[in-house]
Symmetry: C2
Subunit: 387 residues, 2 copies
């Protein structure tokens, strides 16, 4: 059943070739001081940083630098970003890069005017912000996380070996996001496919729950089919604008709360993947791909009807044989596509060893809302099968 | 190709059984005086009016009555609504009913602080609002138009025999909308099916353009499939919550700008239907159903690839025969579903006579952006075939 929900997503999207020029319009609504957030420097190499700086200067903004955000933003970096924002009385947080910088900008946003420790407040106690928020804008250069149009933020605490996400409400979502598909051309192939699989898995996480046929299930299948078809074009021709633009737009809708509306979800693949990430610092999408198939094979009997539907609707599996056989064929088709993409198919290639399994299992949050709540034994079994 | 676009839809949705209770939270953001907009009195009969009035009073609001909005809101009624808002210095326009009251509320919103004649400014000259807007909230009781989550407003001028829609930007969209599927149970069957077909046709209007496979095409098919499946349940069991809730949510997304993102559209079925509406005052959804099949058969050769895809993806037509045969089978499946629904299959049953055809053709706006721009002769031919 479509459960009760509230839905609101106010993020303004500027989409297309040359959409960065719209940044000038977007900037008008905000004050003078802009904290310019970016990662390890790829935006400097590909020239996007210079374009953004020019537009900021033309708009009369004062730029406060905040580079060096790592792929899995750490709590120490978060403290640093908050300090920068406070010391400079920043008016806007502008993230330029992939999901990590967007995630980080949102974490800074909710922490600048908050007296408590943000790690404790938001990522341990999962409280909601009760202080003034700094507005966030994004210029996305890498596709996958959906962070550009949602309230999610994932922060890693290496000391505690925890990587935890908090999904904030619509007031924390970016005020605007620039999506220029051409900006994604320079992303290395490994990052491109990790992003595509990340987006695909976001849909799966929301799709694999419930037994009835909600609008959400149809929309989820639509996004999956679009991602699959366009990924095959992009693999052969990474500068195919049509493919990259459709991947970019589908990935945004894969995780901006629409397809979760009225559904319960457990996000268990992400719980497993984030635990792996806390231990290995591996690319997020690859941690998801490495654990997905053993996990889905494990829960298939509990959600047989939906796994059968997944096979038929998404993968066009012929409806011959038992429901279980049809459902298994769907997972085989998924596996075959994952191999085409070239995503990680096992944890060993991410640096996980047998001895780390117990620790990763300890770090895996167990959620309900899906087809089956995992026991610790099941988590260990799935992780071992994922090696 | 996915063209450049901006997307923003800030409407907050309160969805589900009992969601009207959330009105109290929603009202907090607005001033004291609320213009309560409704139609011919069905909301009084079914008790929804009383519930809304109670919540407004509990919230300490002053209610200014504005009932009697007709199914096709007239320009005279618009002037009246503007006068009410001005005289009472209204803070919020709250529309309770179907698409007509939401459309009307938006037309009042853009006109209250505007010195010019709103009919001339917005519906003849298609200008954008340049004055202060009054916020709009909706409590939807009838599904179909999508007006609850978009900037569209359709106003009828009987003297000029024109029914014209203006799609305003996100600043005119309702600030919030309450969607309780149970509120739609009391809608007469004829209105229910007209609303379902209206929503379906909104998707078709946006789907039948372009030759490539954008995210939008997949999402459109998803919404169509969900509407078809759930309409069949609702026809047999109008109080099936699951069916009515999914119809309600799909209809909202059928016309809230998402599936139009990056696409060109011509909305020609609506142009034909609105001209019929201006002449007959017939139910909007029925004017669309009456002209749809002759129109689609006419443009099928110009958009063959998409009509073939429509047949295969939406109607599961077997891929045997020529593309044209497969595409025609899709339209036959559509026709068969329309007959199941019981929507108008011809203009005569809406009161159109042969002599009115020329006048309706004169009132039909011809748009580009679709597969084929109609000549006047083609419009007359389609209208005659629709009789």
């Amino acid at each position: 059943m479509l459960g009760n929900f509230t839905y609101q997503n106010p993020t303004k999207i500027y989409f297309g070739k040359g959409a960065l020029a719209d940044l000038k319009e977007a900037l008008k609504a905000y004050g003078k001081t802009v904290q310019l957030i970016y990662g390890g420097g790829s935006v400097k190499k590909n020239g996007i940083y210079d374009q953004v700086v020019s537009l900021l200067k033309e708009s009369g903004k004062k730029i406060v630098e905040d580079g060096g955000v790592m792929p899995n933003p750490t709590v120490e970096k978060l403290y640093e970003g908050v300090k920068i924002a406070r010391e400079n009385e920043v008016d806007l947080l502008l993230a330029v890069g992939g999901g990590s910088v967007c995630d980080y900008a949102k974490a800074v946003s909710v922490s600048v005017y908050c007296d408590e420790d943000p790690w404790e407040k938001y990522f341990i106690r999962f409280e909601e912000p009760s202080c003034k928020l700094l507005p966030v804008g994004c210029v996305l250069t890498m596709v996958g996380t959906g962070s550009e149009m949602n309230g999610g933020s994932v922060i890693t605490n290496h000391a505690q070996k925890l990587k935890i996400g908090h999904v904030f409400g619509s007031e924390v979502m970016p005020k605007f996001t620039v999506l220029d598909p051409e900006f994604t051309y320079t992303v290395p192939r490994r990052q491109m496919v990790a992003g595509i699989y990340d987006a695909f898995n976001h849909i799966c996480e929301q799709y694999f729950s419930g037994t009835d046929d909600n609008v959400s299930d149809y929309l989820s299948e639509a996004l999956m089919k679009s991602l699959i078809a366009n990924s095959r074009v992009a693999l052969k021709d990474p500068e195919n604008y049509e493919a990259r633009s459709n991947i970019m737009w589908a990935a945004t809708w894969a995780l901006n709360t629409l397809i979760a509306a009225g559904k319960s979800t457990d996000w268990e693949v992400h719980m497993l993947g984030q635990a792996v990430g806390a231990y290995t610092d591996a690319t997020h999408g690859m941690t998801l791909s490495a654990v997905s198939l053993p996990y889905y094979r494990h829960i298939l009997p509990y959600g047989l009807k939906k796994f059968r539907r997944f096979a038929v609707e998404v993968w066009k599996v012929e409806e011959r044989g038992t429901d279980e056989e049809i459902a298994q064929s769907g997972l085989k088709a998924l596996e075959s596509w994952m191999r085409e993409l070239g995503v990680a198919m096992g944890l060993k290639e991410l640096g996980v060893s047998e001895e780390m399994i117990e620790g990763i299992a300890d770090a895996t949050l167990v959620m309900d809302g899906g087809y089956h709540v995992l026991t610790r034994e099941e988590i260990v079994k799935i992780l071992k099968e994922s090696l």
